[in-house]
């Protein structure tokens, strides 16, 4: 699963710390999310998407290997 957090964050001029404070997680969590090293819970995915005024599937893109073949 990949996500557009970095891109959306840059668009809204938010730092990792700002976003972390808004969605009430540690900055480290945002770092790992952006690197794609961590898949968030549904609640965190919802909170982040709501912050950017987008749907969850617009921020988090699930890539199924079977779909691409």
């Amino acid at each position: 699963m990949r996500n557009r957090i970095k891109e959306l964050r840059a668009r809204e001029n938010l730092t990792q710390l700002d976003l972390a404070k808004i969605v009430n997680v540690r900055r480290e969590t945002i770092v790992f999310l952006e690197k794609g090293k961590y898949n968030p819970s549904l609640k965190l995915a919802y909170d982040i998407s709501r912050q950017f005024k987008l749907q969850i599937e617009e921020v988090f893109i699930f890539e199924n290997k079977e779909d691409s073949t």
């Binding site: 710390l17 009430n24 997680v25 969590t29």
Partner: protein, 132 residues
Amino acid sequence: MKKSLYILLLLVGLTLTFVLGIIVYSQMAEIQPKMLIIYALIGIVALISIFVAIKKMKEEKEGQPIEDEFTTLVKYKSGFYAYLASMYMWLFIFLFRDISSDVETLLGGGILLSGVIGFVCKFFVKQQLNEK
């Protein structure tokens, strides 16, 4: 904030007392090489703990939560691996117990190694959280 500060003060106090104890002891008797290894291990664990405590205090000052879903997941996963690795470590200590006849050294070394294993597991779990 207060909790992090107390933990940091306690860690610094313990480390300073330990260093002072070694200095006093080294003047009274010669320190054996195997004891030096254990002292070095204690030093590493203490330094890492102080570093982590300072980092947490700084982050708390910035308004970040102490714990969230990511840190909880890392804690549980690394705890499981550290538990497994520690079991093997104690087995090896038991198998090679003839290396040192001093039970206290073996037990102390084992406990310290458990701490080091914990840090190592946490590091590797963070690196490979989503990798298959």
